[in-house]
Assembly symmetry: none
Homo-oligomer: 155 residues x 2
DNA sequence: TAGTCTATTGCATAAATATACAAAAATTGG
DNA sequence: CCAATTTTTGTATATTTATGCAATAGACTA
């Protein structure tokens, strides 16, 4: 478990859950067998430029800031995907990927270019990619393939 | 100086300046002869749903959440949708919205911003929006929700 | 290889923010 | 006007987050 992997996971956890404070985040990481101190999380959240907001229900939640969090020049497909990727969800034979604003096209192109047999095609908007899964391929089969291709993403 | 006035001033100060913490905000208010404690500011920021973000220079800044500062309100989204909307059709777990030319993106953004639980994601072209319906949600359920949100549209 | 440099982390603690509680101020209904 | 109720605020303190420092590990150079 290196730092970059932890950062990606944290980003995913933040996007996919309502996390109220660093203690809670620490607990979620612990469930995944990642042990870090609050101090490290404070630094991680800073480097991800995560902001803390008030929810309308009175609590708090973390949010990943628009864009800024990562800008770099890794030029392989997996790098492109890692950089913009936020979350992936499924519905029937369709999948929806949320990305940082403006990254959808990059992610979709990278996805296409990998030539995954399980995916029939993709369409990209600005921060959303929709793709169609090949008939007969289950969510679980696809997830397993994706995890193999992107061990850093926690899909 | 009543509370509402102070809240408005705080919002303006936050939008117009880079304020790093409550102490700084307190000082700016003091310059304007408004004396309050940090505790009160903490409550004020909560009621304004101000979030604290990391700047790319390493510092912090407060930001007023979309809903409160800009007119990113529900009413405006509904207006945006009504203006460009032409028709909505379904196929399986997918929906297709036709709009006036050029309106697709606006409609999609508005749709997304409403945060409808039933919709997984959207992609916009020029005059067409495609969206994916969440698994387990039927056409009829979605239509019913949409009719409630947009009584003026014939969905 | 030894020495140097850099990155990452935990520990302890500082700094920043939130809140329980009580008091003061404002509002409401006779 | 008064009494009852609600709102707003400060004080003191709890909670949450950030950071100085030292330790460790890996990378790089000569």
């Amino acid at each position: 478990m290196d730092k970059q992997t932890r950062l990606n996971l944290i980003r995913n956890l933040i996007v996919g859950n309502n996390i109220e404070n660093q203690e809670q985040l620490q607990a979620m990481l612990a469930e995944r067998n990642i042990q870090v101190t609050q101090a490290t999380l404070s630094r991680d959240l800073k480097s991800l430029k995560v902001s803390k907001s008030h929810s309308s229900q009175g609590g708090y939640y973390y949010a990943v800031s628009e864009g800024e969090s990562k800008r770099g020049t890794r030029d392989n497909f997996i790098g492109d995907i890692s950089r913009g990727f936020l979350s992936m969800k499924f519905s029937g034979n369709m999948g929806v990927i949320r990305t940082l604003p403006g990254y959808a096209n990059t992610v979709a192109v990278a996805f296409d270019s990998l030539g995954l047999d399980e995916i029939l095609g993709t369409v990209a908007g600005d921060d959303t990619v929709i793709f169609v899964i090949k008939e007969g391929v289950t969510k679980e089969m696809l997830k397993s393939v994706l995890r193999k291709n992107f061990p850093s993403l926690y899909i």
